[in-house]
Symmetry: C2
Subunit: 429 residues, 2 copies
């Protein structure tokens, strides 16, 4: 074994960073044996130097992250600050100064992955980020390496623990969105400002990353259709139950049936209770990957939290250190397929639509005609009427989002349709 | 991209090999883009050259596997022959002649993994074998790389599709073992001689491989306790149902609670219906991995079959080719921890025991005394009596296998105990 240690600069020492530092210290011998050389925590960049950090020698702590990265003797920079800046500049500087980078930064990778990969390649360095998607669950590496000889057609998953906790709570207790969110906040599953989670921004970033790797195509954050889950109601869960379904916030990356384009989207959807994703509880994550040869694979585990995310970071750290000792780099960006990324209109799926309608004869015929005119085939219709009010619940066969949107627009214009109570996609069938 | 192709020798062209050859041909452009150089199928060694193999040019086919491996221009040997010989000699020769090896051979890896890894290392070559365990499911790579910075404590899984199909059939239809086996055979899920599957040899080989990687310790096939599932009866399933359980053939690799030793075992066990492994149907495989930092991860997918296994082989092929272009090798054997492998007596778990007893007062007291004398704590007891015959069903708290064996031996000596109808471990709680 090499005795000269590999030097690691840790940027950020919050929930994840402090776990990374802790494990690097307590498991130093194991890491050295697995890498083939000791790893040394050479510096820790923080915002608040006064905070006591157990197990981290005070002399390693600095507020000057840039100077740490520019020291020139750093082998690997571990970035667990999050957000776009200063993380982006620090990572770019790290490459310029000869270091490889391990990051957990989904927002940055989704936005600037291509540029960062190019910078890594220019400097013969590695950029690894298993922790950016689905916490401890090995997903980036299996997609990028294990399935490198296969053709991935679909990635479908629960990649945000906060929203899954909220939806699971709504499902199991009948609570409304706000009540479930309050509980998630109280228990620390939701942040004070939950926007990034509940509006689907976090999941959309992960979808962009996963789609890019799965389809060997650059998928930008803007390419991902995004719909949050703040509008999901207890009534939606009741409708879902009637269909033998539950509701999950899903990230879905798909190759079109003709293989010529791909889509990526995040939205709440009904999925059958018999689907394995339906039983993913609490803050857990799970991702289905469907490929030509492998068939359906599922990956399940804790999608967030300090220790699980640190596990993913350290796995990458070991890999990057091994590469460095080998004088080699691991697989970089693979975007050779360069498939066009289609918009939501081209997505084909099934829909569950609840309409408030007048309770009089002929309404169903009118509604059915509108669906037919837009080429959307109806699977089932259920009519419920009372006191002159009635509701129609329509479940469609597979149709394009564009056709469904046109249908809904036309339905809204019907005198007999008083309102569209909800539209929800049905996935996983 | 490099234009000179990497040359691949394929040893074996059965269900898996023909899929590997097919995908190498139909997806040649994708593989080249992902590797950074074209890969060329340089030769295919088969036993029966007369068999027509669609898509494989006749001039590539040979019966002389040794000559193919010794050609001197082969970059990667893909071994999908199975069995110990001639696979072992061919792999060893491949290393001597400068090639890296991708293998799907669980029996060989479990028996001679250490020697083969050493041979690979001696010749600066790679030995990859994702396909040897759980077909298409990425498991070796996540354990070896993604969890390289974590401490794995337990691997618990269904790693044999044939037996899972049979047990699932028994569970869902009430069929007996033979009837379910006959159906599995008719459907092609079981081989004409099902011994390797139903007696647990196949699963034991996989357990040895998984334990070795998970614990960074050499675990030989002989170290794995093995019990097949041919004795599982419809009555066992009825007992399991009463406990809210089902029965699965499990491979379990565990670190002892004090961390100082490890065990590996394969046997049928009851697991709660609420455990995710309980809902693994048909010939699917699923493996739980529990680690210090990552918590519980699950990997699920098709555990066998030509295309899924080929997916795993090709993922390895891409990785090995990339390493070759990089002039590097991937992670080799990691056995530095060298933990002692304990026997079954040291395994601690719960037990479900059915006793046929005399239907008279005092029997329960006698039986309970025997358990107490051996330090095995009873969780629940259920007594059923009719016509002078009675049964006692005892479920224990966690106890060592040695203590349980001692208890059962003593129970058999009691006059009031007419027989021990079944003993089954209870896992996954």
């Amino acid at each position: 074994m090499r005795t000269r240690p590999l030097k690691v600069a840790l940027l950020g020492c919050g929930v994840v960073g402090s776990e990374v530092a802790r494990i690097m210290t307590t498991h130093a011998d194991d890491l050295a044996a697995r890498i083939g050389a000791p790893v040394e925590l050479a510096g820790v960049a923080v915002r608040r130097p006064s905070k006591v950090r157990e197990g981290i020698p005070a002399e390693l702590v600095t507020t000057d992250a840039t100077a740490l990265v520019k020291r020139g003797d750093i082998d690997v920079v571990v970035e667990v600050i999050g957000g776009i800046e200063p993380a982006r500049s620090l990572i770019t500087t790290a490459f310029e100064y000869g270091a490889s980078v391990v990051s957990a930064n989904k927002a940055l990778l989704a936005q600037d992955g291509a540029a960062l990969h190019a910078a890594a390649e220019d400097h013969d360095a590695d950029l690894y980020y298993e922790a950016a998607v689905a916490g401890a669950i090995p997903l980036i590496r299996p997609l990028r390496e294990s399935l490198a000889g296969d053709k991935v057609n679909r990635v479908l998953g629960i990649v945000n623990g906060t929203t899954n906790f909220i939806l699971d709570k709504m499902d199991s207790t009948g609570a409304g969105y706000q009540e479930a969110l309050d509980e998630a906040t109280a228990l620390g599953y939701a942040e004070a400002d939950p926007t990034a989670d509940v509006e689907g921004f976090d999941a959309a970033a992960k979808a962009a990353i996963l789609a890019g790797i799965a389809f060997h195509t650059r998928v930008r954050l803007d390419d991902v259709y995004r719909e949050g889950m703040t509008e999901v109601t207890a009534a939606d869960f009741a409708s879902a139950k009637e269909m033998g379904c539950t509701i999950k916030l899903l990230a879905i990356c798909e190759r079109a049936e003709d293989g010529a384009s791909v889509t990526a989207r995040v939205h709440p959807a009904m999925i059958p209770l018999t689907h394995p994703l339906a039983s993913v509880r609490g803050a857990y994550n799970a991702v289905f990957v469907e490929s030509d040869a492998s068939g359906q694979l599922m990956f399940y585990g804790p999608g967030a939290g300090g220790a699980p995310t640190a596990s993913a970071v350290l796995g990458d750290l070991v890999a990057v250190c091994r590469n460095r000792l080998n004088g080699a780099t691991g697989p970089g960006e693979s975007a050779y397929a360069a498939l066009p990324v289609s918009g939501m209109g081209d997505v084909v799926t099934r829909y569950h639509i609840s309409l408030d309608v007048a309770d009089k004869p002929g309404v169903l015929a009118q509604v059915a005609t509108v669906f037919a005119e837009h080429g959307v085939s109806i699977d089932t219709v259920r009519q419920q009427g009372k006191d002159g009010e009635a509701s129609l619940v329509v479940v469609t066969h597979r149709a394009s989002d564009a056709a469904l949107s046109g249908t809904v627009e036309a339905l809204r214009k019907l005198d007999t349709v008083r309102g569209v109570a909800s539209i929800m996609r049905v996935e996983g069938e």
